[in-house]
Amino acid sequence: MPDEPFDRAEFVAYFRDETEELLHRIDADSLRLEELAAAGTYDAEIVNSLFRALHTVKGNAAMLGFAEVAGLAHGLESLGDALRTKRLALTEPHVDLLLRGRDLLTGLVANALGGGDAPRGLAEFLEGLDDVVGITTAERTQLAGDPEAFEAEVARMLAQPSNPEASARSTLKAPARHPTIRVDIDRLDALMNLVGELVVNRTRISEIAASLARLKADDALVKALSESAALLARTSGEIQESLMKARMVPIGQVFERFPRLVRDVAKARHKEVRLDIGGAQTELDKTIVDEIGEPLMHLLRNCIDHGIEMPEEREAAGKPRAGRISLNAYHGGNQIIIEIADDGRGIDLERVRARGITLGLISPEERLTEQETIELIFTPGFSTAEAVSDVSGRGVGMDVVKKNVTRLKGVFEVDTEGGRGTRFTIKLPLTLAIIGALLVRVSKELFAIPLDSVIESQRVEIADIRTVQGNEVVTLREQIVPLLRIAEFFELGGSRDPEKVMAVIVGVQGRQVGLVVDAFEGEQEIVIKPLSDVVGRIPGISGATILGSGAISLIIDVHTLVTDAYGTGRVARAEYSGV
């Protein structure tokens, strides 16, 4: 742009966001058109949607002076327009052109925004596109130039009495939608945090009202306070719920890029794969939606790479040539469940076992259950693929997928059946901001332990504690559970009754640890706050929370403590020495 009377940089960020969304839409629409073309049918709504997306990319790019992007988008828009007005038929070669153009467009946009090299083959592509659509290169390059010629033409056309071209326009109608606005996620986070405080305080006020009512049941003021507290409780609960809903977005936002991914990966592997998507409307917290894309993508790649067989192999096994992957999301109680299932060959447990022995993870004599064998694939660096594929073998293993899911407080399960397929199940909480916690006291400190990892809390008889190679363990239901004394771990000091051992049994991924504390202080809903930058990261602590009483409680990072208790290898040693 020759002169910049407005702050262009400010708009580039918006351009980036909006273009990314539009590229996803172009993808989804193009893929749908590919199906329609194959079936020999047509859907005006999809062609229109594609046309509008390309049109918007063009306008935005031109406005910001990204001439190359605008030029390519214009070429593709012309193709979309030709399909829309049925000047060109909806055929697979035309859709192929759209898909290739979309890839170039993605490359050009990234390049314009300062990331990545300019995509190759642009000139050749545009030439081919011009031939098909019938526009001239001159017309396309003129786009970022001077609009005077355009204005002159409009004036000329206005001077003429009738305009046959004007009737070529198709009216685009669809059901009316609720007006929406975009809100910075930080604002919602801040609001969520405040509401969290409100909810915690509401509990406290209800408690006070209840205590007073027990003392002075007939007092009018106490009655008024109780009623008021009940109303406050209801309203704040509703605010919390509405706000949580405001943060919810459909998981379809993540799903919509997958058809393209599956298509491309399958093509590269010379496999035939059909992807069925269900539950795209299922809503969950925006933060989780942002984080879940990567793991899901890896699982899909994994299904195609390792699960789905080559078409010939499938036919020989009496299966349809094309493999099927289904991706589903649905609500189950207070959780959202995402399933990815394929109808491929399943995980070869014998090979997993052999690989585990090679890597020294298990000894040849060891007997593992099916589930324990599957657990082996979550070990970093574990892969049974004979050749590292260029698609899923990018150094991102199943261990990373599992770690990502765990970080989102989710649970990851794998079911497999030889010759029939594999199913990955991810269970995620609806929100991460508020959790149920068990409060415990150690010395003078209050700690919160997330309830999702608590198995039970109980008093351990001192006689049941044994010491194995310097470490304390107890046997609970035939499982050896190491004890970890919180006071020692965090170096809190204080004296305690050696005869009275209170332990909270926590479990992560099937491994249990008994956390030894001084007292149990009940359960509470808590609002997680990250530890400030000043305090920095403390191993074993994942955050802090302010309780209704105003006291501060640190939230225990169960994952780290369990890893610590097992990481030293002391439990493994205890098991091998036959305790």
């Binding site: 742009m1 020759p2 002169d3 009377p5 407005f6 702050d7 400010e10 708009f11 918006y14 351009f15 966001d17 909006e18 949607s49 046309f51 509008r52 049109h55 918007t56 063009k58 306008g59 935005n60 031109a62 406005m63 910001l64 002076g65 605008a70 214009h74 012309s78 017309e139 003129q142 786009l143 970022a144 609009p147 355009f150 204005e151 033409e153 409009v154 056309m157 206005l158 305009n163 071209e165 004007a166 070529a168 326009r169 009216t171 685009l172 109608k173 669809a174 059901p175 009316a176 939608r177 007006p179 975009r182």
Partner: protein, 120 residues
Amino acid sequence: MSKRVLIVDDAVVMRMMIKGILAKSGFDIVGEAQNGVEAVEKYVALRPDLVTMDVVMPEMDGITAVKQILAHDPAAKIVMCTSMGQQALVVEAIQAGAKSFITKPFQAPKIVDTLTKVLA
């Protein structure tokens, strides 16, 4: 008194830019709409002095919106905001009653100029 403007465009970037330019030039942005349906609703509710109207939008396009707004208020001042290659549509909009048009990509003085002339 500064003139009250309603901005209609389905592209966030475009709305932001037009808003930025007009706000700096002393216009009062009273509302934004991202499709024709919203544009008509907001026009009726807000009665702005001027509307900038995109052409290609989902739900209802800009030309239909121009016609519906003019049906509500024959004195409505609407300026089309259009991309090159849409000559026929601009002509149709102006024949339907739009007062003027600007072409994307436009520069700040151009849009301010056009709007000022239409309001004069």
